[in-house]
């Protein structure tokens, strides 16, 4: 099951989704996709579709919930919202991510200088 290769991407995508839902509140898939694209400044060339299995996985973990509702143009859409467990996970993951970024940053700087 699943492609282990893109676990890092999955992890970061999950973090992005959680962060998005934490800031925007309840949101449908397309909204989440748009927001991620905008925030990343369209630098993330991600197929929008990959978002949906990720959403399902997050829901199975209990970090987000989903509910059918009406969209801004009055169509039936599935809305996702972050749960309390999701917020806790977000905090933990964000801290983790920052630490890794920090460490990696320190590693990469000297090498780039020497080359």
């Amino acid at each position: 099951m699943g492609n282990e290769k893109s676990d890092v991407l999955h992890g970061s995508l999950a973090l992005m989704v959680l962060r998005t839902l934490d800031t925007l509140g309840s949101q449908h898939g397309w909204g989440i996709a748009r927001r991620i694209e905008q925030t990343s400044g369209d630098a993330l060339a991600l197929n929008q579709g990959t978002l949906y299995p990720a959403l399902l996985r997050l829901e199975q973990m209990g970090w987000i919930t989903s509910k059918w509702g009406a969209s801004e143009n009055n169509r039936r859409a599935k809305f996702y919202a972050i749960t309390r467990a999701g917020k806790k996970q977000l905090a933990a993951e964000a801290e983790n991510w920052e630490r890794i970024a920090d460490i990696l940053g320190r590693f990469l700087r000297p090498t780039s200088e020497s080359s």
């Binding site: 397309w30 579709g49 199975q60």
Partner: protein
């Protein structure tokens, strides 16, 4: 806990797959619509907008598939698909599936059934007893082997053994209960007062025995009855406690009722009542034995303390035995004690059944092996015909793992179905073994068989491994297949060609040799049975009927007994059809043992420590003539040998050989229990209680000169037992309506009942051999028909070139016979080594008896011919043109 929630999410996803699929469509559709709307807003035309949205989204169906995999349990879904497909494949080939499941069911069922018997009869025979695992059997030993234990010795064991929680004494003693105008024996037991407490059995009504009830000659006529007796005989009377029942002539007060399912501690029979040790004399006679260290009558059990091994307890008991030998040399010299695990208990049905059950287990395992070989064979044969299917599936892209899993699933289905069948079969066979026990009216047979699921699991496991192993062959072959070549031409093999046939051939070899082994075993047992039936028992078995009238149970004393005996004899003389009749204390080959006595005679000096003890019988006038025992010298017991005449005895040949060095002892003196008798005759040796016994010394004394009246009646007649039984019941009733005769049977029947364990072994083996033959036949048939179908083209060519049908028949059959011969060769080699293990089940038959081997060989050949004929016949009728065109 998260994984649990994930699993739950996935499981529910699996169950609601339909509606979730619609949800997914709707959600993704919404996304695309939003994106298209956005693109339109950016100024694209509709087709452009749509295309851009789709491109942005990525592969729609890939996303959906990933989503589905995340949602459900893909593993489970494929397994489910495999199961469905497996069932379809098995259903498409119902003949194969039926045969395979039948074979495995027989194998599993047989093994499980036999193991259940062993578990229930030998290993855990007393289900209600609290600590069966700590229970061991206790007997005495002397230099001749096993003996019983005396009451004073048992008390010393109780006082001195530190490793044993409790010793219980037991002695089988029956009584006669009248049922209408027939009398029936009811099995009961004389036990020490701690019996029920030590076993941990509590009465459902009343109480059990108290310690004070152990002693005092016939001082405590109280009895505890079984649940069965309470229900059947006393109609479940709730106020039964305090009522009385006459047992062996003495009114006993019923003090307790045992719970349902407790049958006593004698494997094979269910007891109906128990009395305390103080009543021993009333059931056995021969005087009050509880203060006599030399009187050994107890067959006991010991309950070891937790954690004590039987070896430790044996060591302690033998040390106590040594001390007793030193303290009481007169009675205990050369004697000791022995402990046995329950399954080796020498004094009850366990000992008799042990060899039969052991052989049954071996045989059942062989049947299981044959079944496995058979199914392996069938699967292999089928695998060749499925090679095409496998090739096609691989060529359209099926993964090898996927194929393997598919085949494994099919094997699994077969095994599970067979295990279920085997379970049902074993459950049905639970009570089958009771049918092998000799029926005797009034004596309840109790052979508990417990369902042993561990054995079921084991045999099902063996089947599973087999089916899976052989089921995988097609997959293994498929992995080696050169796709193009395999698809182009299906094999056009040659009959008898080598190639891959060696696996199948070796499986057939296994079957044939195992079946041959079983057949030889059965042949040997049948021959022993015949030899036993033809054994000269030394008396006439036909034309002599035996029965008993229990006068003691009805409260008769010596004088009344004699009076009744005379009256009945004179009435029988006036009765057409009965040539002669005689009373005796014991009857040959009955369950009750003969009395025995210590003897001495002039001119014979016993070795130090040897105390010759010989069995004897007290008989009425003309006993030897009625039974047809030839008299070699002197005269038979006569009417004149009564209370007032000189005490006399007739001795047998072995006694003459042993004690008078072969010289005719007529006129010599013989001392029996301190009393001198005159030897008046020598009788030919006979068998006294068992066909297997070796010649033993034995003598006869006149009934009238003994202490007790005999209760057994022997009649020489040409009429059948039924006619005599009715007339006898009428005559007995006419004299005293309180009396009734017991079962009337021929001596032949009596002898047969005592050799039932051999017959039971033959019956069981016959069943198993039948199964094995059937299975081997199926296996041979399968292989031969496959070989023929593969060689159709060659056969057709031969026909086209002018070969005749008989010639073709010969080719096919000779191939089958070749396999059989090889299998028989292997089987014979194994049989020569193994049949020796049948030891005591064989009687006057060599374990290498050529006749049995020859017969087994013949049966195997016939079975082979039968299995090969159909395929061969089909081959001979092949239409050459069609066969050649088709291939």
């Amino acid at each position: 806990m998260t994984w649990l929630r994930v699993l739950w999410g996935r499981l529910s996803g699996l169950l609601r797959a339909g509606s979730l699929e619609r949800d997914l469509d709707e959600e993704l559709n919404f996304h695309l619509q939003m994106e298209i709307a956005e693109n339109l807003r950016k100024g694209m035309n509709p087709p452009e907008a749509r295309l851009a949205a789709l491109r942005r989204f990525g592969g729609l169906s890939q996303i959906k598939e990933t989503y589905r995999e995340t949602r459900g349990l893909p593993m489970f879904e494929t397994v489910w698909r495999d199961v469905c497909y497996g069932f379809r494949m098995l259903g498409r080939n119902p003949g194969f599936s039926f045969l395979a499941i039948l074979c495995l069911t027989l194998g599993i069922g047989a093994t499980t059934a036999v193991s259940n018997w062993i578990e229930g009869i030998l290993l855990r025979p007393f289900p209600l007893v609290t600590h069966q695992d700590r229970m061991v059997a206790l007997t005495g030993v002397d230099r001749n082997g096993r003996g019983d234990v005396s009451w004073p010795d048992l008390q010393d064991l109780r006082r001195n053994a530190t490793l044993v929680d409790a010793f219980i004494a037991e002695h089988i003693g029956g009584t006669t209960l009248n049922i209408g105008d027939r009398a029936e024996r009811a099995a009961g037991s004389v036990v020490s007062s701690n019996y029920f407490d030590a076993l941990g059995i509590h009465p459902i009504l009343g109480r059990t025995f108290e310690p004070s009830e152990d002693t005092g000659r016939n001082a405590h006529p109280v009895t505890v009855i079984s649940y069965q007796a309470w229900k059947d005989r006393y109609k479940g009377d709730p106020a039964i406690i305090g009522k009385t029942q006459r047992l062996n002539g003495v009114q006993h007060t019923i003090i307790g009722v045992m719970p349902e399912g407790f049958f006593g501690t004698f494997v094979g029979y269910g007891f109906q009542f128990w009395v305390p040790a103080s009543m021993e004399d009333n059931f056995e006679g021969g005087g009050y034995k509880l203060e006599d260290r030399g009187a050994r009558w107890i067959e006991g059990f010991a309950l070891l303390k937790p954690g004590v091994t039987i070896e430790q307890a044996r060591a302690e008991l033998s040390a106590i035995g040594k001390r007793l030998e030193a303290a009481y040399p007169d009675t205990n010299r050369g004697r000791g004690f022995q402990l046995y695990p329950l399954w080796q208990t020498p004094f009850n049905g366990a000992g008799t059944l042990l060899p039969t059950l052991r052989i049954s287990l071996v045989v059942a395992c062989l049947v299981l092996l044959i079944a496995c070989a058979n199914v392996g064979n069938l699967l292999m044969v089928r695998s060749f015909s499925r090679r095409h299917e496998m090739t096609v599936r691989i060529s359209v892209g099926a993964g090898r793992m996927r194929l393997l899993r598919q085949l494994l699933t099919e094997g699994l289905i077969l095994s599970i179905a067979a295990a279920a069948g085997g379970l049902v079969l074993a459950y049905w066979c639970r009570d089958l073994i009771k049918l092998l026990f000799p029926a005797s009216p009034g004596i309840m047979i109790n052979l508990p068989a417990e369902m042993d699921l561990r054995v079921l699991a084991l045999s099902a496991g063996v089947c599973l491994i087999t089916t899976v192993l052989f089921g995988l062959v097609p997959a293994m072959q498929a992995s080696k297949i050169d796709l193009a070549a395999a698809l182009k031409s299906e094999s056009g093999g040659v009959v008898g060609g080598r190639g891959k046939t060696w696996i199948r051939s070796s499986l057939v070899l296994v079957q044939v040799s195992l079946s041959f082994l079983l057949l030889v075993g059965m042949g040997l047992l049948l021959k022993s049975l015949r030899a036993m039936q033809e054994t000269d028992v030394g008396f006439s078995t036909d034309g002599v009927l035996s029965t008993f009238v229990d006068m003691v149970a009805a409260g008769y004393d010596g004088a009344r007994i004699r009076n009744f005996q005379d009256q009945l004899l004179s009435r029988l003389q006036g009765f057409g059809g009965i040539e002669s009749a005689v009373w005796s204390r014991a009857t040959p080959f009955s369950y009750r043992s003969y009395p025995s006595a210590s003897i001495a005679m002039d001119g014979y000096v016993a070795e130090p420590g040897e105390q010759p003890v010989v069995d004897y019988n007290e008989v009425g006038p003309g006993y030897l003539a009625v039974l047809g025992i030839p008299l070699l010298s002197g005269r038979d017991i006569a009417i004149a040998d009564n209370e007032t005449a000189m005490p006399v005895a007739v001795v047998n040949q072995t006694m003459v050989r042993r004690f008078w060095r072969g010289q005719d002892p007529v006129g010599a003196r013989l001392q029996v229990k301190g009393r001198w008798l005159r030897v008046i005759g020598v009788a030919k040796d006979a068998r006294y209680s068992s066909l297997l016994e070796t010649a033993k010394p034995f003598f006869y004394t006149p009934l009238r000169q003994g202490p007790m009246g005999g209760q057994y009646l022997q009649m020489r007649t040409r009429l059948g037992p039924e006619k005599i039984a009715t007339a006898l019941a009428r005559e007995v009733k006419a004299i005293d309506s309180n009396l009734a005769p017991g079962e009337v049977i021929t001596l032949r029947e009596q002898v047969d009942r005592m050799s039932w364990s051999q017959r039971a072994a033959v019956d069981l083996l016959a069943i198993f051999c039948g199964m094995a033959l059937l299975l081997a036949g199926i296996g041979l048939y399968g292989v031969m028909s496959y070989a023929v179908s593969q060689g159709t083209r060659e056969l057709a060519l031969r026909i086209a070139l002018g070969a005749s049908a008989p010639h073709l028949l010969r080719i096919v059959i000779s191939q089958g016979l070749g396999l059989t011969l090889a299998g028989v060769g292997i089987g014979a080699a194994v049989a020569v080594g193994l049949t020796r293990l049948m030891g005591n089940l064989l009687y006057r038959v060599s374990p290498r008896d050529p006749q049995s081997f020859g017969a087994a060989f013949l049966v195997m050949v016939i079975a082979t011919l039968w299995a090969c004929f159909l395929p061969a016949w089909r081959a001979a009728r092949t239409d050459p043109v069609r066969a050649l065109r088709e291939s």
